[in-house]
Symmetry: C2
Subunit: 420 residues, 2 copies
């Protein structure tokens, strides 16, 4: 199987100013196509570090994907360094020049300068990959049976090159290995409890199949991976094991594929032909954001009222002022009224509402930081839940959102059951 290493270049990665999302994206794409990323290395904008990383990764992999350091400014040293590393000299690539000029003159509408022209220079020992989404061209080098591919660090530029150039090249040059993944998603049960439930199953797995536990916000994803199976039909083999796993985890399974909670709920809403809305207090729009990040979400999602104030809860959601005063905003009665209020305001079949204290401040003895009430339902009935989280603000927001969406899923399934 062809091993791939990823080298990401940039001081910003080493001082933590930027989170590296490129590597995960590249790894996901490559893996789905049967290529195996075995190492990822991040180094700074330092000549010595980059040089050493190129040397070292060539010992580990047949293909080395390099991102970053191709910008037009002095801190971007990757291109001249690669030119030297592969003993080339800089030349202007005419097609890249045309592209850069076009972008400046027609898209950015900014003057085309000498500095921009430099973006079109490449070492004469590389194969150029044209950048359809930006100014810096990509470069492919070969040395000692190893392919080095340099791409910009800007995510959507890198992504274009991976899809248009890198993947076709790799498929042409290497035999992708046979990889099969199947992922089961569970909710509301811990890793170690799962491990005890499936102990025999796990011990009986053949050597070419691995099981991974990936916990994330109350969900645990169980991933079966088969690599170079000796079986005739590896997809069938893993499918069979997957079904066994699903049987064992039955009550806790929320999805048969790796997808986030919002996508699971979206699919259910579409299947049941239900529209939904949200009334968010403490999550401040995060539930709405998760849902509306899904393409096509307008088919089931109608909107949200985010009410940080008592007044808005009364005016826009029709929450009873006396109830607010008596029970407080973080209470069962208020989240119930928030559901009925937003169902009416947005004219939807169902809704979910949350109200809580996310921290770091705002807690009381009675309702400490991390206390959350949530309700899911329709105009006639709701189910409610009180949870208590004990983490940072951002983690509390994320956990509240996932649990609220799970509660809505529960309501829809129970309601369907009751009707049937």
């Amino acid at each position: 199987m062809t091993n791939v290493s990823i080298i990401t270049i940039g001081d910003e990665l080493l001082i933590g100013q930027v989170i590296d999302t490129n590597s995960a994206w590249m790894a996901q794409l490559l893996n789905s196509q049967g290529f195996s990323v075995t190492r990822r290395v991040a180094v700074g904008d330092s000549r010595e570090s980059i040089w050493k990383a190129l040397d070292e990764e060539a010992q580990h992999a047949a293909v080395i994907l390099v991102t970053g350091g191709l910008g037009p400014t002095a801190d971007d040293i990757t291109k001249p360094l690669l030119c030297e590393y592969f003993s080339g000299k800089m030349v202007v690539d005419e097609q890249a020049l045309k592209n850069v000029r076009h972008l400046f003159e027609n898209v950015f509408k900014r003057p085309f300068t000498e500095r921009n022209k430099k973006q079109a220079e490449v070492p004469d020992v590389c194969t150029v990959m044209q950048n359809r989404r930006g100014t810096a061209p990509g470069m492919i080098f070969e040395k000692d049976n190893c392919i080095f591919i340099s791409m910009p660090g800007v995510p959507h530029e890198m992504q274009g090159m991976m899809e248009n150039d890198v993947l076709p090249l790799m498929k042409e040059r290497f035999q992708p290995g046979q990889i099969e993944h199947r992922t089961l998603v569970t909710f509301g049960i811990g890793e170690s409890s799962i491990a005890d439930m499936i102990l025999e199953f796990e011990n009986a797995l053949p050597a070419h199949i691995k099981l991974a536990y990936l916990p994330n916000f109350g969900m645990v994803r169980l991933r079966l991976t088969s690599k170079n199976s000796p079986e005739k039909n590896p997809a069938e083999e893993i499918g069979h094991l997957f079904n066994q796993l699903r049987e064992l985890m039955q009550a806790h399974v929320i999805s048969n594929e790796d997808q986030p909670m919002e996508k699971i709920v979206a699919a259910l809403l579409l299947k049941e032909k239900l529209s939904m809305s949200t009334a968010e207090s403490c999550t401040g729009g995060y539930i709405a954001h998760l849902l509306t990040s899904l393409p096509g979400s307008s088919a089931f999602y109608k909107g949200s009222v985010i009410s940080y104030s008592y007044q808005a809860k009364q005016d826009l959601l029709g929450v009873d002022g006396d109830v607010l005063a008596k029970e407080g905003a973080v209470s069962e009665a208020v989240v119930r009224q928030m559901v009925t209020g937003v169902v009416a305001a947005m004219d939807t079949n169902v809704a979910v509402a949350v109200s809580g204290i996310m921290g770091p401040d705002g807690g009381t003895d009675d309702k400490p930081v991390g206390t959350v009430w949530m309700a899911a339902g329709n105009k006639d009935k709701q189910i409610v839940q009180k949870l208590h989280f004990r983490f940072t603000r951002s983690r509390n927001i994320q956990l509240t959102a996932v649990n609220a969406l799970f509660l809505l899923r529960k309501f829809i399934l129970e309601d369907k059951q009751a009707e049937a």
Copy 2:
């Protein structure tokens, strides 16, 4: 200066199922304290890969931080591997056992099993770091003048150990280097234009000071870093250069420190004692989410109406049905009315509103995907802007949010100017 390498362990990092946020967090903390992360390596849950990575990173750094692979399940192989690597044998740590038992019996309220007990085992050749936030203890090993520190991959557990144990240890054992950073944030101007504007400044920088360009959603952060300056007062030296840079970039500067747009706007609102609300269509709650992610945001942020439907725009925001029918939801007239509508509904001083088509579907000849109208203002006046993005849905949502917040900042500053 003490070099630090980070090794993250987990197949999920190499197949792209998980984005590594731990490394950035660790790097940020270490850097702020004068320690320099020089490499970050991710490897899979494979004995050979982990072993090799430990060997290799020991050549690069004096401290090696390892995260991941400490869970209770069979795919977590880090602990037995470290035990073997450092020639130890497994023993139960009594304090860790007490902690795990307490968590299961009192916090998780789940039965305490043999498997959980294993979590309290550690190699007898390490110093144990107790985990105050989870079950897996951390471990410190020493070999050939190199310190190896193993921590869980769960972010808030790792963070607790970094703060409570790792940082104090490093400060005790090593002389942190002198690092100074200053970051200037600009908006609405490209990297290469900036580079031309500050060419002389950049060329005149002393060798121990580096300038980095960090573009991100229309913002470019310019970071000056001084490492082991020969000057008596490095903070003063970099401050002086920072002021020069700010002078040069004047009109484009939006912040004198590295902070996201929402924090810049939040600070301005607090300073001017203004309350705000949002009316979001195409961003679907993302602007609200950015603002409410800030601790204490309830001091200035009152709420949002997220209206994916025409009806909600009319009912909750008072947008004129005739205008909607004639101009369409993505229009100047509608975003103006959304501002006045939400200012009234949420009773705030100012508001920002957006309406657009984020894709991948929903575009027309007249209004292609990526078209966005936005308005910022108060009940009496608004400023508006039409933008056109050409990226993916998620990038379009992020760019719209940042630009809308920038527009609100502009309105507030202009309005203040007009009043003065």
